[in-house]
């Protein structure tokens, strides 16, 4: 995990993006985050969604990703798919409402991308957002880092 943080720093430096390092999980600046550990990268009225480094680390090795069909309607806070890690299925919830326009079919053959590259190659769906105002209820990177620290401290 320490190696992953060091690697992330080098990649971030190359790509000129800022990263926060909270403990051993990476948080990417400029993304928004839900309290169920999904991230969202906004591009106008479109967005890419995945699960965070904190989530993949706590779930363990992902062996299967259940993807929705293109055209599926998603609602903020509601499940649209799932990841399976060893013995558990865990719902993936949408940070925003909208319509699925693309799914990451690479995850069907390589579910481990969610672990290896949660913010890049391990993205799960792309959506057209119905209401960009919903983004205001999400956390920024600093808030999410604090949220994760508080959550881990409770246990």
């Amino acid at each position: 995990m320490a190696y992953r943080v060091l690697w992330a720093s080098r990649v971030a430096s190359y790509l000129r993006i800022s990263v926060f390092h909270r403990g051993f999980s990476t948080v990417i600046k400029d993304l928004k985050y839900s309290d169920t550990h999904e991230w969202i990268k906004v591009d106008g009225s479109s967005a890419t969604i995945g699960i965070t480094d904190h989530a993949q680390d706590h779930l363990g090795d992902v062996v299967y990703v259940e993807l929705p069909e293109v055209g599926t309607t998603v609602a903020q806070g509601k499940g649209f798919g799932a990841v399976e890690s060893v013995k558990a299925t865990s719902d993936v919830n949408s940070p925003v409402s909208g319509e699925v326009v693309e799914v990451n079919s690479e995850l069907t053959g390589s579910p481990g991308l969610v672990n290896a590259s949660p913010y890049e190659n391990g993205w799960i769906v792309k959506v057209n957002m119905g209401d960009t105002g919903e983004l205001n209820s999400l956390m920024d990177s600093e808030q999410y880092s604090k949220f994760c620290e508080e959550e881990d401290a409770k246990h």
Binding site: T36, H58, L59, G60, V63, Y64, E66, P68, G77, G79, G81, A82, E84, S85, V86, K87, A88, T89, S90, D91, N93, E151, D152, K154, H155
Partner: protein, 264 residues
């Protein structure tokens, strides 16, 4: 006096549902409905099921996991369940115990696969103290290195389920319907079913001893209250992408045909 009583802690309630010979498909449908629509904590005990049935995890592929030719010949039902994990064949020698909990029900427990698995390992370690060398081996319950309990979980926004099929007894002939899985725990060491598994009845005096001790151990974490199956309303669950389902004969035949076509 339980530990919680000694500490004067207010425990969350857990509803206890005891069943006998309920078909496993019906049990799984009930569990998924309670997970997704109830706000209560539940312990469900089914002390056996009514007929041999194969139960795969959510991502299971029949051609990889079961001996389709004999399953089709002998008309063994095959279910794909809503939780993760591997494939089992259950019958009247199987005891089922399931926990459905709100994510904050157990103080200090993070609602993720490993902490939940670890908590259940502590619970059953207490239950089975004195009956055998109990271990949580990777994600299985074992006496020494012989598995007697298989686990699976599903975690949603505010709740989780952890359910177990315990091999009180089993018919070795039924195990022949299952292939050796490609994804297996390291401690299995490629052993065939007969060398890997064991029967709980060779370690524990009776099913009722095991079940009563489990309920007693739960009392350290919950106020356990008996509940009647008849009191649960019978609305069917909403259709979910990963709902438990019985595979049709056509689906099994298609899998078998595809498997035959892919043979060298």
């Amino acid at each position: 006096m339980t530990l919680a009583q000694a500490r004067n802690v207010v425990l969350p309630c857990m509803k206890l549902l005891r069943m006998s010979a309920v078909p496993i498909l019906e049990q799984l449908h009930l569990e998924e409905r309670l997970l997704r629509t109830s706000v209560d904590n539940w312990c469900i005990v089914n002390d056996r099921t009514n007929r041999p049935t194969i139960v795969m995890g959510v991502s299971g592929r029949p051609s990889e996991l079961i001996e389709l030719k004999s399953v089709l010949r002998d008309q063994i039902p095959v279910i794909k369940r809503f939780t993760g994990g591997g494939t089992v064949i259950v019958d009247d020698g199987t005891v089922f115990i399931s926990f459905i909990c709100n994510k904050n029900a157990i103080s200090g427990l993070q609602p993720y696969p490993h902490p939940i698995m670890s908590w259940t390992g502590q619970l059953y370690s207490e239950v089975l103290r004195g009956f055998g060398d109990f271990h949580l081996r990777e994600n299985d319950y074992a006496f020494n290195s012989h598995k007697f309990g298989g686990n699976a979980q599903s975690i949603i926004k505010e709740r989780w389920i952890h359910h177990t099929s315990f091999l009180w007894d089993y018919d070795i002939k039924n195990m022949e319907y299952l292939k050796l899985p490609t994804r297996a725990p390291k401690y299995r060491s490629a052993r065939p079913h007969v060398d890997f598994l064991c029967r709980m009845k060779e370690y524990v005096p009776s099913k009722s001893t095991f079940i009563e001790r489990t309920i007693k151990s739960l009392g350290s974490y919950f106020l356990v209250k008996p509940f009647d199956l008849d009191d649960i309303t019978t609305e069917p669950p909403c259709t979910l992408p990963h709902s438990t389902k019985l595979l049709s004969r056509q689906e099994l035949e298609d899998a078998y045909s595809s498997q035959c076509e892919n043979l060298p």
